[in-house]
């Protein structure tokens, strides 16, 4: 098992291997996430019972919760890839980190946006300085910082490393931020908005949510893979294996570049 993992890890470092392997995955990821979302949305919107307090407005959790989870794990993936790049100098890891950053930020925005839409009918306001909202907002700021830094540094290698260092510093900071915000919130407005604490969910509501979480994870994986493949194509464009790829070779022959 360990041997196999080590070999997998070394292979993942090869852009060519990654490109060829993920080429076979794309269609399956797209299909699975598409079907999963369709099923999840239909079950969530049509078949799940309405919440006894919030009515139908609770149904936005089927987008809100998966987006929020992925925004958080996206940062983790970005920081871990960054660490792998810093330690083992694996180019692929840096490209993955760069591919994840805007996606994670987008999911973070989706979570904040849907949260605001949800907040209006349930809390009567678009935004409250609730601990969870605030920490998501700070997560968005952290994403923005990493993206801005990656973009500002011209040297390719240095920009990857700088982004990795910053995302690692952020990673160490996230628990501290989370803790301090929770602490701050309970200090200033104790127990005003208890609606966020749902009773244990009924399976009819929970199952569509779980399906949506898995489907959104698959979508995220698909998007990360697509973006990483773009990075590979761009950075390895001079390599012969890229130019021999059927989709590239056809274009070169046709005179389109």
């Amino acid at each position: 098992m360990w041997q196999w993992l080590v070999r997998l890890y070394h292979r993942l470092g090869s852009p060519k291997w990654f490109y060829e392997l993920t080429g076979k995955w794309i269609i399956w990821l797209a299909l699975l996430s598409g079907v999963g979302m369709l099923v999840g949305v239909v079950m969530g919107l049509l078949f799940a019972p309405a919440d006894y307090q919030q009515g139908d407005s609770f149904r936005i959790i089927y987008i809100h919760v998966p987006a929020a989870i992925i925004a958080q794990s996206g940062y983790m993936i970005m920081a871990v890839s960054g660490a792998i790049f810093l330690i083992w100098r694996m180019k692929m890891a840096a490209w993955v980190a760069r591919a994840v950053a805007p996606l994670g930020a987008s999911f973070c925005l989706i979570a904040l946006f849907t949260g605001a839409i949800w907040g209006k009918p349930t809390w009567g306001t678009w935004w409250v300085w609730d601990a969870r909202l605030t920490s998501m907002l700070i997560l968005l700021f952290l994403y923005f910082g990493v993206m801005a830094l990656q973009r500002a540094i011209e040297s390719e290698d240095a920009s990857h490393k700088a982004g990795a260092i910053l995302s690692l510093v952020g990673l160490v900071n996230i628990p501290i931020i989370k803790y301090s915000v929770d602490w701050w919130n309970t200090l200033h407005q104790p127990a005003t908005l208890k609606l966020t604490e749902r009773p244990p969910m009924h399976p009819d509501m929970l199952i569509p949510l779980l399906i949506m979480i898995v489907a959104t994870y698959l979508l995220f994986a698909l998007l990360v893979i697509l973006r990483t493949r773009n990075e590979i194509l761009w950075h390895e464009r001079k390599r012969s294996w890229i130019q021999e790829l059927p989709e590239v070779a056809a274009r070169i022959k046709g005179g389109q570049r």
Binding site: F141, G145, L149, A152, A158, L166, V169, Y179, V181
Partner: protein, 222 residues
Amino acid sequence: MSLVRATVRRDLLLAARNPGEWLNPLMFFLMVAAMFPLAVDPDPAFLAKIAGGIIWVAALLATLLSLDSLYKADVEDGTLEQWLASGESLYMLALAKALVHWLCSGLPLTLMSPVLALMMALPDDAYGALVLSLLIATPILSLLGSVGAALTAGVRSGGLLLSLLILPLYIPVLIFAASAVYHASIGMSFNSQLGFLGAMLALAMCLTPFAAAAALRLNLSR
């Protein structure tokens, strides 16, 4: 070790010869804080409630202003390369630079804060909390900021970028420090907040120089 001492000495000397560099952020600190009563409400009872927070936000912004130049000159004139060639650890350099930055920004801010607090009608009980929280927490600002300064040292117009990178990381410090002042002003104990700030300082002192050293190396490979 003597190299560390020499660097601290040189940077302090540079600051002494060029007082604008550390005086300007101090004046900025004063002016930003003075904007709030003008813009919001000069009523002392109201000011007393927000004084701690305003002084802390102003201190954050003033620190950011002075961070930009922390490594710029050393990267541009090759001092950094000399340091690396000497074999002395960059960790120590990062620590020394943060120390000098704190001596030139955090410490004067702390010393000046009671004057501002007076103008902001901060309750008498809160003076101790304000000065203590600034004393403990401004070094954290310098340490965290030195990572950002090292990352952006080679970037043109890195000042704004630096603020984008560092401000989110300052949030825990802001929360605990402002709450210490607030708690003191309503006559409650603020030991736990100071304890947290102290823990953060210890953590920052151990970890941030690693990140800053790694970031400094990037400026050499450029």
